[in-house]
């Protein structure tokens, strides 16, 4: 059975995920998204993986959520609060979500993973470092190249060509 901390974390995570999508203002929505990401970090702590939890906090809550917040602030004010959606599509979306959750949930509940528990000690985070530097080193280098490439691509995409910003010489 789940304990109280787990229940509180799941309420926070799922509630703020719904709030992130349904809040009228995009700014409050992105702050609610921070709540979801922090709740996931809490789940990682419950799963005895503090390294991934810290990584999640630093990368997601620290950088991605702030990046989204600044992008929202670049958008016109009335677009932040505007909400265009038709009723029929919304009900169809809710129906799709319920069908998806019930179907996947019933499959999972019928499968064998219902009875899985563990008494074994958690994986030491030193093993993750060793994995990164031995078995996964090509993937690590590839990931670094992808990150550099994507940041460069984002800068090139967002550059304005109509603004002339020559460097002053005087």
């Amino acid at each position: 059975m789940a304990d109280a901390v787990f229940l509180a974390l799941s309420v926070i995570t799922i509630g703020s995920a719904i709030a992130a999508l349904e809040m009228r203002s995009l700014i409050y929505g992105s702050i609610a998204l921070m709540g979801t990401l922090g709740g996931i970090a809490g789940f990682f702590l419950l799963l005895d993986s503090p390294f991934v939890a810290m990584f999640q906090l630093v990368v997601y809550v620290g950088s991605i959520a702030v990046l989204i917040l600044f992008t929202v602030m670049l958008v016109k004010r009335e677009l932040i609060f505007k909400k265009v959606e038709d009723k029929r599509r919304k009900f169809a979306g809710i129906g799709l979500m319920l069908v998806f959750i019930i179907a996947l949930g019933s499959v999972i509940m019928d499968s064998g993973i219902k009875s899985i528990t563990t008494d074994e000690p958690a994986v030491d985070f030193r093993n993750i470092g060793a994995d990164f530097l031995t078995y996964y080193w090509p993937a690590l280098i590839l990931m670094a190249l992808i990150l550099a490439g994507s940041v460069t691509g984002a800068l090139v995409l967002a550059r304005r060509e109509d603004v002339n910003n020559e460097q002053r010489t005087d």
Binding site: L79, K82, I128
Partner: protein, 101 residues
């Protein structure tokens, strides 16, 4: 450990359903990015949960890779949204139809 694997998997399924709802209903480009983030986080939660219960360090390693790639994806996606906003003065995806034949 008092929590079972099934609890974490059920939370992850709920987050996945919410993300699919957001992707299919919302027309605001930034909100669709929120939905994608929620789905990616559900996947990461599954990776770490299964890695804890096997137990194996591969789950956490893969989750770290996934977080880093998601950061790259968000940077590119947000800059695409900025470019589209500059072109159309709107972030409603129903307006982004120059490629429509």
């Amino acid at each position: 450990m008092s929590n079972e694997l099934i609890d974490f998997v059920l939370v992850s399924i709920a987050l996945l359903g919410i993300g699919i709802y957001g992707l299919s209903v919302k027309r605001n480009a930034i909100r669709m990015l929120f939905a994608v983030e929620i789905i990616i986080n559900a996947a990461n939660l599954n990776l770490v949960a299964f890695g804890r219960f096997i137990p194996n360090s591969g789950g956490q390693t893969l989750a770290l890779f996934s977080i880093a790639i998601a950061a790259a994806e968000v940077a590119v996606g947000l800059s695409l949204i900025i470019v589209a906003y500059r072109m159309y003065q709107n972030i409603d995806i129903a307006d982004f139809r120059s490629l429509k034949g």
